[in-house]
Amino acid sequence: MIGQLPYFIRRALRNMLHSPVLSAASIFTVGVALALLAFFAIAVLNVQRLTLSWAAELAIVAYLEQPPEGPVLNRWLAEIRAYPEVADVTYVSRQEAYQRFKVRLGSDADLLEGLGAEVLPASLEVRLKPERRQDMTAVAERLGRNKAFGELHYGREWLERFEAFLLLLRTAGVALGGFLVLAALVIVANTIKLTLYARQDELEAMTMVGATALFIKLPYLIEGALQGLCGGILALLVSFAAFRLLLRESLGSLLLLTGIDTIHFLPPVWQLLLVAGGALIGLLGSLLALRKFVRFCQD
């Protein structure tokens, strides 16, 4: 049967050429469904990138009542570095904090005139590993047991809100995409079914000369997969064009406010998955159509 693959592909291509309108409808439907899915994926990916970059900057800041002695500081640093959740810990002296604050004030730095570095407390900045971000409260509680640490600051709450938003975006994408993919699947199945009805005489003749069910099904399965593949490529082209013309500008201006400078298109693996997904939709659509039809012809 594998040796006959070129024959099946030829027949599938010929079938598509004989029903150009039906084939175009299938390709278009798969293309639209996957392109919409790709738009969501682009948005989710870029927003996710934003949370990752924010999360990397996110730290627990432990303000110190008094600047510690050298050996004490070293002990603390070693202790905190040993926490499994911690990626890095840095000591920010009063002087350093003063300099940073001055830089942040920019043209208003003269406000600090007459004030010394002693007005600002020294601190420890504890950064967590990205995968252990959810342990922020636990780490903060552990740090809080050290009486030498005064106030503890960390921006977990807004990060959680942002992650909830990301989850919502992702869920909406999956739900809408799932719905569209399902619609594409049904349309491909119906297209193939219409083709099968149009070629009922051919199927009958095939069964009468001894064609096996697989022999009858294979060209239609290949046809479905080819249509899906074309739909996937179309989705890729449309989403890339939309990305260049619309998304990059609109999403860019939205995310620029938050510190992201460039908007990225889907990574190559995702692009491949999109095209392969199209082929899979087409294949499943044909399978759905053929399930009952060929059984009927064989009876």
Binding site: D201, A205, M208, V209, T212
Partner: protein, 221 residues
């Protein structure tokens, strides 16, 4: 070659299309199945090629009980059969060559072999000059000759023909009968359903008569 034992076929809510048929067709025989419309001729042919299953009884083909044959094995049984229909059942989108090559493609034969075999059979039926035409471009007689070529190209053990000359004029009917005769002379068993008494008189062979699904006659010429 073909044996039927007490075969009955009943469709839902209808009286039996075939009732208690027992008959035997020997290897290399040429048999007419005759009787009025609705007598059960087509049903009997369908049972022999497993397009229908008998309600009761057993059918043996070349010693093998095909009544119990699983769905998966039916295609392989049909590869030993040639089937000719009254309405030809040709594929109009394919050329004459492709129509005849079709059963060999189904069997997965090599392209070179297919080419040679198809040309040879088309020559036999006198259509080698029409191989690139499509069926709608041919006359009724030519289309039936293509259908016969498609049936013969696999060198079938049995050729089943359901009213093959029903739509043809007398001259073309003679051509088709000559093709059947020569296939039979080469050893193919032929079972031909027809209600054309004139044809049976012209080419006398064994005649099995069916009436209202019952076997009412079995006469040698």
């Amino acid at each position: 070659m073909i044996q039927l034992f007490n075969v009955t076929k009943a469709f839902q809510r209808e009286q039996s299309a075939l009732a208690d048929i027992t008959l035997r067709v020997a290897k290399g025989e040429f048999v007419y199945l005759t009787g009025p419309s609705g007598a059960g001729k087509s049903t009997l042919l369908k049972l022999v090629c497993c397009a229908e299953r008998p309600t009761r009884g057993q059918i043996l083909m070349d010693g093998r009980n095909i009544t119990q044959l699983g769905m998966r094995h039916i295609p392989f049984l049909r590869r030993n059969l040639g089937i000719v229909f009254q309405d030809f059942k040709l594929l109009n989108r394919r050329t004459v060559f492709e129509n005849v090559a079709f059963p060999l493609e189904v069997q997965g034969r090599r392209r070179i072999e297919i080419g040679k075999k198809v040309y040879q059979v088309l020559k036999q039926v006198g259509l080698e000059h029409r191989l690139s035409h499509h069926p709608p471009q041919l006359s009724g007689g030519e289309q039936q000759r293509v259908a016969v070529a498609r049936a013969l190209v696999v060198d079938p053990l049995v050729l089943l023909a359901d009213e093959p000359t029903g739509n043809l004029d007398p001259d073309v009917t003679l051509d088709i009968m000559e093709l059947f005769k020569s296939a039979n002379a080469r050893g193919t068993t032929i079972v031909m359903a027809t209600h054309d008494r004139g044809l049976i008189r012209q080419f006398p062979r064994r005649v099995i008569t069916l009436e209202a699904g019952r076997l009412t006659g079995d006469a040698q010429p």
